[in-house]
Symmetry: C3
Subunit: 268 residues, 3 copies
């Protein structure tokens, strides 16, 4: 890092929306406890209480941040219950949030990942709300790490952080099957099939919800406006789209729908 | 403050939305006039032209910011009319915005609050728009304060800033009555009843729009998904919610609706 | 610039929305390559793939930013096609984005504007996505300029950057005609008619979609709530609005509709 210029980055991810001041309260806490922090939003509109799309967005985004970035993630359907609070070091960065699987992409990729349960109460805000741990527990913990303290001082080591099982892909002869994981802002449908899952076929014919997406393309401009297409997107995942259109709305595709890839054209 | 590290914080609150560049123009003005400023959004999606929910969001958020923060608030149905422009010191922080009641929470809490009418024209941008004081009058005034100047140099003292009367609560024997003030992003309904308004009863049974919210809970995870509940939320106010659901949509609750709390179960 | 305090500003404009992490990936790239950068959002909700409203928003916003600001604009329907990538110096600021006309306002205003095609591949991220140039090509180029490098090192000079023709105004005797360019967050309708287009008449009577907006006003508070009005807005353009209402929804006005201004009252 540039000596004489040390401003830690803290990213924020939540399902709070940005209309009510909940995110702003967390920003205030972060800046009060770590005045040098730079705050960067990942998203505050992830699907409410949904762990998988949050993890998907983080998987696609976090690798572009500098080493040492602290990622505060508050998608937390179990706030107030007995779910643990987690601080985690993985892939050269830090993560703070509920132990509900939201950090699955980073737990799987980094065998050296260390995790602790945030149990030290001295870092909490007082008064402490039982409904807003993002503000009163997670933000102070993130600020603590961003100030340069060891994340392991936040509580005891945890060797079984919650992971979810990604919906997989299955190969049956000349057909590869997967599912739609997330519909994005454009109505494009991001699937469980990664580039590296594709067998060494000469072409890949994609089908979903009875619609033929034709052979795999490289970019959206390869088809005429309004035409459906499939490509490997910027996350390295198979994506179903309509050029300059909204595939989810136009074709009725939603998260969980089956998608299939074949080596040869689909029969009508 | 950390010597050698002085970056003033300016927060922005408006009903402008973020799609058209109006907020960005204010950000540009702030950074041009106060290059060291850190800009933090509170919300740009408060209900349009509505003072009370804006004040509610600020009441819940501002206490989490560091001393000396400058809060720029532009919810301003009277732009161009004779409403005054206000700069205010209260609770160790600074406020700039229209004199329409939006600062009510801070006027009531801090008896030492000082306010001035921003009348000095030398701080305004030129050309000066009669429809966008946020950019041409309030942002320059906020930058002026953030640069370390005395807010009292902006104009003459005002001893009667506009305050609105919060919808109150009333206690009648074993029943406490209040109203819904705001429906948040989750569809949860924030009421005029504060924790300190609750009498010393053994339990609190909550009812609103003909729906029984049962005895007061401590957190959302205490009821099953889809069940209505009432709790004291992270703002210290009685809130009506549906666990992992949208109470306002599901139950037809809206701002202004009556809410009642009783010491004993409601008869059906 | 304040010596000893040099934090370049990079603004971001896109049609990506902020829910999926696409903007966040660009923020990560910018901060990794230019750790001192201050990131400021112009808008991420410009109408999808639409060049004209994006240019309009930038025209209204960019002049308020300090000299030397770098503006990263990614509204890019042609990503992956042969459209060029552009870096541009104009009006004392820098611009990076697709060569699709989005920089039209700045190309017209500054005859000394210099532009280059970003062709140097050494600045690109690896791996390089053919669908997300905002992250892999434009953000690195913007960071390069923000770090103080010469924008001309990004590639060869371009002397024919794409410009679109603004929908104009035409004066026929006592009638001035124009079109609606953009409907903003409030439902107000921003037109192609600029303040300087108005002839030296004593009054200006405005009509659009069969609705009479009366003589030109100076601010919204000049008419009663719910009444239609026309004024020269904070962008210096004729705007049609409803006081505290939504003109586009209430009156069915949309981008492209004709608007007419006359020196005398419209006959019914």
């Amino acid at each position: 890092m540039n000596p004489g210029f040390q401003e830690p980055i803290i990213t924020l991810t939540s399902d709070f929306g940005v209309s009510d001041g909940y995110v702003a309260s967390m920003r205030g806490v972060l800046l009060k406890l770590c005045p040098r922090a730079r705050l960067v939003d990942i998203s505050h509109d992830v699907p409410r209480h949904e762990i998988l799309p949050t993890a998907l967005i983080m998987e696609a985004t976090i690798p572009y941040f500098p080493a040492g970035t602290v990622h505060l993630v508050v998608v937390d359907p179990g706030v107030g219950s007995t779910r643990r609070a987690l601080a985690l070091a993985a892939a050269g960065q830090y993560f703070v949030g509920p132990d509900n699987g939201v950090f699955t992409p980073f737990l799987q990729e980094d065998v050296s990942a260390g995790a602790v349960a945030i149990e030290e109460k001295r870092f909490r805000l007082r008064p402490f709300s039982s409904t807003f741990h993002g503000r009163d527990l997670f933000a102070p913990a993130a600020a603590h790490i961003a100030r340069g303290s060891d994340y392991r001082s936040l509580g005891p080591a945890v060797d079984d952080p919650v992971k979810f099982q990604w919906p997989g892909t299955s190969l049956n002869g000349d057909e590869l099957a997967g599912v739609v994981l997330h519909v994005d802002h454009f109505g494009s449908c991001i699937t469980s099939i990664k580039a590296e899952d594709l067998p060494g076929w000469e072409a890949y014919y994609v089908r979903c919800c009875g619609v033929d997406f034709g052979p795999l393309k490289r970019h959206y401009a390869e088809v005429v406006s309004g035409a459906p297409l499939a490509l490997i997107n910027s996350m390295g995942r198979l994506e179903l789209a309509i050029a300059q259109g909204n595939a989810a709305v136009a074709l009725g595709i939603k998260a969980g729908d089956d998608v299939r890839v074949a080596a040869t054209k689909w029969a009508d």
